[in-house]
């Protein structure tokens, strides 16, 4: 009997809720170290000769999750590769890397990944029913020799790992870390029809999932095949799908990506606030329905004239100036790959790629590096480092550039460095700091700045997104940093609630927080312009006996039939701020952005064929495959049909899995289908229409209907 804890779950802590891309350690549920064995089942559970085997289970969070991108053990990437270097991806159905996959190329330095089984966290089958492939009883439980109760961990995303440390090393128990594509979310069209159930980095669908999961439909079943229970009509009517779908499209148009994990047990309000923070989002409940918005340029919806105003009810102030800080700091975990060095030259000869860098580089034998931003983008790919000579010249295998080609430029990064912690501050807002810090008159010379900081947590993000949203917040709070300082003002005024403006807009219908309205010059000449509604106080009922000193004589309330609006000065310039140029330490590998695609509402492929045709030789090693597509049609976000030109491209057998994606034809010149091999990332705004896990055999072909 092993003198160790076999079941090690940390109990009494919340089961995390995670969306988008996250780096996960998980809650270790069970762990055992088995000595080398050549015996037969049941111990070990399969016939064969096994070295020392560490086996463990880890729980990630509440399901359903999509799957892992990378597995690291002791800081080394552990993914199964075949003996010719072909990546063996997780089985798309079971999430399992085949146990018979050779691990020659995983990481010879720290150990061998023997098994990796992923369970996404759907509901396990009921007793008496056949296990489902996704959430069945994991075969790795056999290594625990019947000492513990094996569980399916229904509705919890978890994984089992069997790993052997490198002979001669003594690394102790493995500590796996995973880069994970987390929650799958339901996606709806503008009429409330569910049109997808998939992994997404679109924050709007994360928020919808949060409200569904916790408030509107907290009790539901996730079927391994069918996904979550559909909404009833009453549940569907809790949402303003037209506004939500528009917000989701606005999110995609910004090229933003939302990734965050909630582990500390806060409330839904705090979680939604965090999610909406990363995309300038806000929510309202018109007529009791959830509506989501992504703040952006928009037209005014009502014009206030002086006749609508209660006399002497107009008040303006600059409270935003003294209420707000002036040092805006963003914290985030970088979802791009930080660049570790810049490429001077890169060339390919046979299957070997040679890279020189403009300065020193940290690369070493067995490293898996990612190259991006090369002038010839055929070099943008993942590579295994074979050697680094004394002058720093890197020799690597992998990649897809043709033989005898060369190029220059680009950067090198490491997958291990993704999710690096970042903190950056917006440029100082000197005008606000002066407004807050003046002690002596300006004539005394010098400047006395008062610096008050505020920190925003943007979860997992990028420099570009974090800084854009941070500067948006700053602009909205304290305005532009220009002299003379004109901070955004606030106005409170009381209007007759039954006002109708000249074009026939009804104030009652337009008095919704977030709407932009116009104050015309008859309201207040100096304050005429565009304003955003930030608070609404409608006064409804016309009698108020409470005010009659205990008597019950109905009399109109003083404020009957009025609406108090609190407005904030509207300036669409806050949407056109640009992120500062990143310092060198924030340089990332181009093309390494984590983005799930359009999130379901942008591009829907309606038909077409993709064909892969393999070359006939050579008999071993890497061989060429031609990918052609024809007749691909799709539906654009606005509903128009798109007809993509037929085309093709060549890839190599060691570049799988490949992704076939579509783009917006208006920005990509018409032929919008392209292929992205392993290690490269499709651009933001594209949609993956097909993933092919492994190449066809030599001289064979495969055809896929999309």
């Amino acid at each position: 009997m092993p003198a160790q804890n076999l079941t090690t779950a940390n109990v009494g802590i919340p089961i995390p809720l995670a969306y988008g891309f996250n780096r996960i350690t998980g809650n270790q549920l069970g762990f055992i170290t088995n000595p080398p064995s050549t015996s037969t089942p049941p111990y070990p559970p399969m016939a064969g000769s096994f070295p020392l085997m560490q086996v463990g289970f880890w729980a990630g969070g509440e399901g359903e999750w999509d799957g892992p991108d990378s597995v690291f053990i002791f800081n080394s990437r552990m993914l199964a590769y075949s003996s010719n270097g072909t990546y063996i991806p997780p089985d798309p159905t079971t999430g399992t890397i085949p146990p018979d996959g050779s691990s020659d190329y995983t990481s010879p330095l720290v150990g061998t990944l023997n098994f990796f089984h992923f369970h996404p966290g759907v509901d396990a089958a009921l007793n008496g029913h056949p296990d489902n492939a996704k959430q069945g009883l994991d075969s790795l439980w056999g290594w625990f020799k019947g000492l513990v109760t094996s569980l399916r961990y229904t509705r919890t995303a978890y994984w089992g790992i069997g790993w052997t440390p490198q002979i001669g090393s003594s690394p102790g128990a493995m500590t796996p870390v995973l880069d994970m594509r987390c929650m799958r979310c339901r996606i709806y069209d503008a009429s409330g029809n569910q049109i997808g159930y998939q992994f997404t980095t679109n924050t709007i669908w994360h928020v919808v999932d949060m409200y569904l999961r916790r408030i509107v439909k907290p009790e539901y079943h996730i079927d391994a095949t069918l996904g979550p229970d559909p909404l009833t009509d009453a549940e569907r009517n809790c949402f303003r799908w037209d506004l939500i779908a528009a917000a989701a499209d606005a999110f995609d148009a910004l090229g933003f990506s939302g990734s965050y994990a909630f582990t500390a047990g806060g409330n839904v309000s705090a979680a939604v606030e965090q999610m909406l923070l990363v995309c300038r989002g806000y929510r309202q409940f018109p007529a009791g329905q959830l509506a989501l918005y992504v703040d952006g340029p928009r037209d005014p919806v009502f014009t206030v004239a002086g006749a609508m105003l209660l006399p002497n009810s107009f008040q303006a102030d600059e409270s935003l100036v003294h209420q707000n800080p002036n040092r805006y700091i963003a914290n985030w975990l970088e979802t791009n790959l930080p660049a570790v060095c810049e490429i001077a030259t890169i060339s390919r000869s046979g299957s070997t790629t040679t890279i020189t860098t403009t300065g020193p580089n940290p690369c070493a034998e067995h490293d898996f590096i990612v190259v991006g931003g090369v002038e010839d983008d055929r070099f943008d790919s993942g590579y295994w480092v074979q050697s680094v000579d004394d002058s720093g010249v890197i020799t690597a295998i992998g990649g897809s550039a043709p033989d005898s080609t060369s190029s220059a430029g680009g950067f090198i990064g490491y997958l291990e460095a993704r999710f690096s912690k970042r903190a950056a501050e917006a440029p100082p807002h000197q005008q606000h700091q002066m407004a807050m810090g003046q002690v002596l008159p300006p004539s005394a010379g010098g400047s006395r700045l008062k610096r008050v900081k505020v920190t925003y947590d943007y979860a997992n993000s990028t420099w570009q997104q974090a800084m854009l949203v941070l500067l948006y917040e700053r602009y909205r709070d304290i305005g532009a940093d220009v002299a003379p300082y004109q901070p955004p003002q606030k106005v409170q005024l009381t209007l007759w609630s039954e006002s109708v403006d000249t074009p026939g807009n009804i104030l009652w219908k337009r008095a919704i927080c977030g709407n932009v309205i116009t104050l015309d010059e008859t309201v207040f000449h100096e304050f005429a312009g565009l304003w955003e509604i930030v608070e609404v106080e409608p006064h409804g009922l016309q009698v108020d006996p409470l005010l009659q000193g205990g008597g019950e004589i109905p009399q109109p309330s003083a404020n009957a039939g009025t609406i108090i609006l609190t407005l904030q000065q509207w300036n669409a310039a806050r949407f056109s701020v640009t992120a500062p140029v990143a310092t060198a330490s924030f340089q990332v590998v181009p093309g390494s952005f984590l983005f799930s695609g359009a999130g379901g509402t942008s591009w829907a492929v309606t038909g077409g064929t993709v064909t892969l045709t393999s070359a006939s030789g050579p008999p071993s090693g890497t061989y060429e495959i031609t990918v052609t597509w024809s007749g691909i049609t799709g539906t654009a976000p606005a509903g128009g049909l798109l007809d993509y030109d037929d085309g093709g491209v060549a890839v190599y057998s060691n570049q799988f899995p490949i992704q076939v994606v579509i783009y917006d034809p208006t920005s990509e010149g018409g032929n919008c289908v392209s292929v992205y091999p392993s290690g490269s990332t499709p651009p933001g705004g594209s949609s993956v229409i097909l993933t092919v896990a492994s190449p066809p055999a030599l001289a064979a072909s495969a055809s896929y209907t999309v």
Binding site: I15, L126, N127, Y220, E535, L546
Partner: protein, 246 residues
């Protein structure tokens, strides 16, 4: 972006009978204030500032109290009793701050033994009852303002009963992570996550679970603890002050 109309631009005239025309008219029928309430036991109530009949937002069961009415409405859910005295304090925010309001209904009607609202309160709670409040234009049969939430009882007096409101979705009082890693199953018995159909509630333990495949907990059934670096129970070491007077 649209610019505001020039001062001399011709005015658009809302169509007669349209909501804009009715709302913007210099005189006309005043709006009514409608309140639909559904308690968690399914009983529905419909109150307004004047007797009124229209299609409700919420429907439900006719409460037992209605059996004692001298002239019960022919369709319970369509008739609004003139009990609503005050609907005010609405405050809506662009931020995540919770919206709020105050609603007051009369507690004068009844009989010599019991006032109506007091009797309803004694019968079943209004806490958490769904409500929909509307400012309603009788002419166009359309609401100009609609607000949904849940009621919470602030005070019930001899003359009136005051309700506060809780936001319908009330995100601030809902756990984002309601489930924990625990040796107790996290499901509610027979709900969809559990789905046991034996109609024999468990005690949320693995030992009493009849759908062990669906058991949503963790089991630390094999722990050695001593010598493995685990945190031991903290023992109180402070000396108790036995001379303390209570």
């Amino acid at each position: 972006m649209n610019l505001p109309p020039a001062p001399n631009a011709p005015k658009a005239t809302p169509a007669a009978g349209s909501l804009a025309g009715i709302v913007g008219a210099a005189s006309g029928q005043a709006p009514v204030f409608l309140l639909d309430v559904v308690r968690t036991n399914g009983d529905s109530f419909h109150w307004a500032d004047a007797p009124f009949t229209t299609t409700p937002v919420h429907t439900g069961n006719t409460p037992a109290w209605a059996a004692g009415l001298l002239n019960p409405p022919p369709i319970w859910d369509n008739y609004y009793f003139p009990w609503l005295m005050n609907a005010d304090g609405f405050h809506l925010y662009r931020t995540m701050q919770a919206d709020s309001a105050t609603l007051v209904v009369q507690n004068v009607t009844g009989n010599s033994l019991q006032r109506d609202v007091a009797g309803l309160l004694r019968g079943a709670t209004f806490e958490g009852a769904l409500f929909a409040f509307r400012i309603f234009q009788p002419e166009s049969q359309e609401a100009t303002f609609e607000y949904h939430g849940r009621l919470t009882l602030v005070s019930a007096g001899e003359m009136q009963c005051q309700f506060g409101t809780v936001p319908l979705f009330d995100e601030g009082n809902v756990d984002a992570n309601p489930y924990e890693y625990s040796e107790m199953c996290q499901w509610t018995y027979a709900h969809p996550g559990c789905d046991d159909a034996t109609n024999n509630p468990c005690q949320n333990t693995y030992s009493t679970c009849r759908q062990t495949n669906r058991f949503r907990g963790v089991l630390n059934t094999f722990q050695v603890n001593v010598g493995n670096g685990d945190t031991l129970a903290q023992i109180q070491t402070a000396v108790p002050n036995r001379a303390r007077m209570f």
